[in-house]
């Protein structure tokens, strides 16, 4: 599938801002065989006085920019054309691997790929294991169950057990509260699943990106109604990273566009900034994901 993605973030400042430094992770990753970027660019208004691009620790594209002249609003628009082929199918051998075998491979594996995956077994600030999280996870991870099957079950349980409510949580809401309230947004569901997998010694990473949303029948697709999306991936020897979307209860295919990944949201916030100003600010975000021929 081909998509054109427009992700626009607008800040309105109550007092003029004289200087700001920012980091944007808004340009999608290039993924051989799964996702190809054609034209991806960042439009910044007012024009930055300084700007540079790099890849971060996890290989995500990062744009650093500075605005030095006084300004009262800032608009950052990422415009990307992407072809999505979707993740490759999971090989049969990896499908039947027991989750305990995956865990053991992660404990001792010294090949480059396993070494890379081992760091995602460890807790991170927003996705840390606990007894409560482990208890929730164990219902899906019975002894001897294939890892892929168990992870899918975990995804489906979160999809079924949790209600999508946008104002119920914040970034600071602990997972223990989330487990009690049983409501949150895609970010919370991804963090919960990641903590569950880590509590069992499995590797899990946080995926950020977009999904194509299907409009209700007979109505035109709403522009700007969407925002960025989040899901999780877990690692299997012989198969690599497999994606799961607990918000939609399905394994991402060619309708999920990958922006960036990290240990949790904290590693890959789409836009961060430090500014010099005495006043407050308001922010609006709009995302359009339109299919292209």
């Amino acid at each position: 599938m081909n998509y054109r993605i427009t992700h626009r973030t607008h800040y309105l400042y109550h007092e003029p801002v004289s200087l700001c430094h920012n980091e944007a992770r808004l340009l999608p990753r290039e993924l051989a065989g799964r996702q190809q970027c054609h034209r991806c660019q960042l439009l910044i208004d007012p024009a930055p006085t300084d700007h540079s691009e790099r890849y971060d620790f996890f290989g995500n594209r990062v744009v650093f920019f500075t605005i030095e002249q006084p300004h009262e609003a800032l608009t950052v628009t990422a415009a990307s054309s992407v072809s999505v082929m979707g993740p490759p199918p999971v090989p049969q051998a990896a499908r039947t691997l027991h989750w305990e075998a995956v865990r053991d491979a992660l404990r001792s594996g010294m090949d480059a790929e396993t070494l890379e995956a081992r760091q995602f077994v460890l807790d991170s600030p927003l996705a840390a294991a606990s007894a409560a999280v482990r208890d929730y996870a164990l219902e899906s991870f019975a002894p001897g169950r294939p890892a892929l099957d168990a992870a899918e079950s975990l995804m489906q349980r979160i999809y079924g057990d949790f209600e999508f409510v946008s104002a119920a949580t914040t970034l600071a809401t602990p997972l223990s509260d989330l487990l009690r309230m049983r409501k949150g947004v895609c970010q919370d569901f991804a963090h919960l699943a990641i903590a569950c997998l880590r509590s069992l010694g499995l590797a899990a990473r946080y995926m950020s990106g977009y999904i194509e949303t299907v409009p209700p029948p007979g109505r035109e697709r709403l522009r700007g109604a969407d925002a960025s999306h989040a899901w999780f991936a877990t690692w299997l020897p012989g198969a690599g990273w497999c994606d799961f979307d607990p918000t939609n209860g399905q394994m991402p295919g060619e309708r999920h566009i990958v922006l960036a990944w990290g240990r949790d949201y904290g590693d890959i916030a789409p836009l961060k900034g430090v500014l010099v100003s005495s006043g407050k600010h308001e922010m609006t975000v709009g995302v359009d994901v339109e299919p292209e021929p």
């Binding site: 971060d56 010294m110 760091q119 999306h229 836009l271 100003s277 600010h281």
Partner: protein, 857 residues
């Protein structure tokens, strides 16, 4: 000599009993070690009384030099005095050389490890370091990986804490690689010892410390990312609230680098710029004492105002070198020592010469079992380095607590490290008039020079009466010792200043004045002047009050009341409410007088003003000469005596006020005679002139504007002359003719009288003209205009008109108007200066990040 020394030493033996089962620095198998003999015989010759005296002298010098440290986590943020034992830790040259070789090897090794961990991480791929140990360590800063410049993976400073255990031998307790502190205290300790025992230090051939700093500076300045002109270096501190701020200021002054905070810096086009009084100046090297996590709020910990946004991006683009590189705390990972021997063989092809205390990382199942089984002999550390992660001594836990710890370790084994508990070495300490064996830790310091590392030939030794307190001593205040390496050859004195070309190299750095420093100097000037004004007035009142009769309507009593009204103007308070009639007039006056000294009724009383002045002075302490610092310290002492409560007796108060004035004048004199006439001094003087004209104008408004009847008039007249330090000149000029016109000529309008109003404003005018300006913006226009207007008003004033009582004859209306205008214009000049030069008051904020909200069901 050695024979007599050893007989005296055996005499000392009676007084010193080394602890059982410890290695003692001085005592070995019933004898004093030979390299201690010269020192031991010298202090023996001194005797107890003289040693006691020596300790007092040490305390006094340290207090006068303001050597202090802050106790972390202390809610009152108190500065504690630094303490130094007259007995040093003494090393002979041969053992020192062995230690030195071990330290140099460790520094080289850590340097290679740092470059690898933030580069290719081959140590992990090659199986020499478990990935969980690195990736589970919050010290590991992912944004610092892959910095292009080699200099930004280089370990510039390294320190090691060492002790000698009877079984383990000499071993490293901890490695310090983030921003090792203590070297400034080590230098200060030596300076004090050198001043009090110069002959002994010479005779013992104690190695000098200064060569180390020459190496340090050369190595640092060679690390500029861009070759070419003399590099600009600055020392970056978290600020006066930090535990070792004293040292930051001390080192900045000692090395000749400006002392800066995050708020003084900004990143522009990949360069770190210093916000100086005359614009933005690029920096090449930051010697940082700010924690890794706080260095850059954009890429590291958000909400940090200690660092500077964009710092890492500047490092990445080779715009600046940071020493130590951000992220270097990762080498302080407590589990790393377990893997050092193998890494040393792998990277250096050498065996580790200086071992760590035995360490087990519990992520290894075998190590976990060992630590669990031997918990009583372990110090358990957590991989986390935040609050609540302090080391735990297995021995000090009861059975239940041990079990709880074991279960936490089983749940997250990779987050725990066990370290063998050590029995610290001892060294004699002078404690309560006796020699006692105290547990000691020696911190050694290394710096990357132009060619390889240099070791400080000395160190910072901390001692405490028990193992447990020693573990905490760096935070809670142990006693320090000088550390002597006694050489075989006599030592010549080497000063930092003899370095060829040094003054040229540092020229650019010293002339740059950060705006924040300028602002603090300005406020030191203002508060010092205000403190002086209030003190002089209080003194006049105290005098008049003691003289006044008890009668309500006496002229003395009325005068005192007029002066109280003037005091209310200076101390930002309404006049104190009249106390209920039961108290005598004397008691009421006393209470009011004391409220001007301290207490909650007057927010700008003397005590508060002094404290504000001292706070500003502390923030720029590296700029004061040691004599100036002494005068500041004396003021600090007075502030303490004044702050003890309302119990200051009125007689004691008068002499205390006299002493405060003398110290303030000493401070004024020292700054005016020993500061170069650069921008710093300019700001200090401008602050003084602005404040003196405000204080003078307000005081005169309160005293001279109302018309007084004759006996009171004479008393007020005299009080005004005394308070404004004009009385001698007035008597000399006009004898005893008390007339308002002559008084106004002298106190208001005499441009040659440094205590007149006109003098302050004309001086302000010429000083302000020397401030840096940006011609295109005509930035100073408004400051100039404001001051000019005040000067003109005074010059054009007609004395006859000023002395004419207006309206109902109760006020000198024109005088009142003139004084009010001058006071207002002076305050406006201050505001304009603030806006023009100190506009960094705006603090950086964090943009809120978008929260992901998607509902596609």
């Amino acid at each position: 000599m050695s024979e007599s020394a050893s007989s005296q030493a055996s005499h000392l033996d009676l007084a010193y009993r080394p602890a059982e089962g410890r290695r003692d620095a001085m005592w070995h198998e019933g004898q004093v070690r030979p390299h201690w003999l010269p020192y031991v015989s010298a202090i023996h010759a001194m005797g107890t009384a003289e040693l006691q005296q020596l300790q007092l002298e040490i305390d006094r010098l340290l207090a006068e030099n303001g050597v202090s440290f802050n106790v972390h986590g202390d809610p009152k943020d108190t500065r504690r005095p630094w303490r130094l034992d007259p007995i040093p830790l003494i090393y002979d040259e041969r053992s020192w050389q062995l230690l030195e070789a071990g330290l140099l090897q460790r520094a080289r090794l850590f340097d290679l490890i740092l470059a690898d961990l933030y580069g290719p991480r081959k140590l992990i791929a090659d199986g020499l370091l478990p990935p969980e140990l690195l990736f589970g360590d919050p010290r590991f800063c992912r944004p610092c990986c892959g910095m292009p410049e080699a200099a930004n993976r280089r370990l510039f400073f390294y320190a090691a804490d060492l002790t000698s255990d009877p079984e383990l031998g000499l071993a490293v307790l901890a490695d310090r690689t983030e921003a090792p502190s203590g070297v400034g205290y080590a230098v200060e300790n030596r300076m004090v010892m050198d001043r009090l025992l110069p002959d002994l230090i010479r005779d013992c051939r104690v190695r000098r410390l200064s060569t180390f700093f020459r190496e340090l500076r050369a190595g640092l300045e060679a690390a500029a990312p861009q070759a070419g002109a003399a590099p600009r270096v600055a020392l970056m501190t978290p600020g006066p609230g930090h535990g070792t701020y004293f040292e930051h200021a001390y080192l900045a002054a000692y090395l000749g680098y400006p002392l800066v905070q995050g708020a003084d810096l900004t990143v522009r086009k990949g360069r770190v710029m210093l916000k100086a009084l005359d614009g933005l100046k690029p920096l090449d090297i930051l010697l940082r004492r700010v924690d890794d996590r706080l260095c850059d709020p954009l890429e590291l910990q958000e909400e940090s105002t200690t660092g500077v946004a964009g710092l890492l991006s500047a490092v990445r683009r080779a715009g600046v070198s940071v020493a130590n590189p951000v992220g270097s705390a990762v080498l302080e990972n407590p589990g790393l020592p377990a893997y050092l021997p193998a890494i040393a063989r792998h990277l250096l092809g050498e065996d580790l010469r200086l071992s760590s205390v035995p360490t087990w990382w519990c992520g290894d199942p075998v190590a976990l079992d060992h630590v669990q089984a031997n918990l009583e002999n372990m110090v358990v550390r957590s991989l986390a380095n935040g609050p609540g992660s302090a080391p735990v001594h297995g021995q000090l836990l009861d059975r239940a607590a041990q079990e709880a710890l074991r279960s936490r370790m089983r749940a997250r084994p990779h987050a725990f490290v066990g370290q063998a508990a050590v029995r610290f070495a001892t060294c004699p300490a002078w404690s309560g008039g006796r020699f006692e064996p105290h547990m000691t830790v020696l911190r050694c310091f290394l710096a990357a020079g132009r060619q390889g590392y240099a070791v400080l030939p000395g160190g910072l030794t901390l001692s405490a009466a028990s193992d447990a307190t020693l573990q905490l001593s760096a935070r809670s205040g142990g006693i320090s010792k000088d550390t002597w390496i006694v050489a075989e050859a006599p030592q010549t004195h080497i000063s930092l200043w003899q370095e060829p070309g040094r003054s040229q190299e540092s020229a650019p750095a010293t002339t740059v004045l950060p705006s924040r420093i300028a602002e603090n100097l300005f406020w030191v000037g203002r508060y010092a002047e205000r403190a002086e004004g209030i003190t002089r007035l209080l003194r006049t009142i105290a005098r008049g009050y003691q003289r006044s009769s008890l009668l309500q309507e006496s002229a003395d009593a009325q005068t005192v009341r007029i002066l109280f009204r003037a005091m209310a103007r200076l101390t930002a308070a309404p006049e104190a409410p009249a106390a209920p009639g039961a108290d005598s007039l004397r008691v009421r006056m006393e209470r009011e007088l004391l409220s001007g000294v301290g207490g909650p009724e007057r927010p700008a009383n003397l005590l508060a003003t002094l404290r504000f002045m001292l706070r500003a002075a502390h923030a720029v302490r590296h700029l004061w000469s040691s004599d100036t610092w002494r005068s500041i310290n004396r003021l600090e002492g007075f502030a303490e005596s004044l702050g003890v409560g309302p119990q200051v007796h009125i007689r004691r108060l008068r002499s205390l006020l006299d002493e405060v004035i003398i110290s303030l004048m000493a401070f004024a004199g020292l700054t005016s005679e020993s500061m170069t006439r650069e921008q710093g001094w300019l700001l200090l003087d401008i602050g003084r002139r602005i404040e003196r004209s405000i204080v003078l104008a307000e005081f005169l408004r309160g005293t001279l504007v109302p018309v007084h009847a004759t006996p009171v008039f004479h008393l007020v007249f005299e009080a005004v002359l005394a308070t404004t330090e004009n009385i001698i000149t007035y008597r000399h000029r006009y004898r005893n003719f008390m007339q308002l016109p002559t008084m106004l000529e002298q106190v208001l309008l005499d441009g040659y009288n440094p205590r007149s109003l006109l003098y302050q404003l004309q001086r302000l005018q010429s000083q302000a003209a020397r401030l840096p300006r940006q011609p295109a913006e005509q930035r100073l226009h408004r400051v100039d205009r404001t001051v000019l207007e005040a000067v003109n008003r005074l010059l054009l004033a007609d004395v006859d008109e000023l002395c004419r009582a207006g309206g109902d004859g109760s006020r000198y209306a024109a005088l009142g108007e003139l004084l009010a205008a001058v006071s207002r214009l002076s305050a406006e000049a201050s505001d304009e200066l603030n806006r023009t030069y100190f506009s960094h008051a705006l603090r950086p904020h964090q943009l809120t990040s978008p929260r992901l909200i998607v509902d596609s069901r």
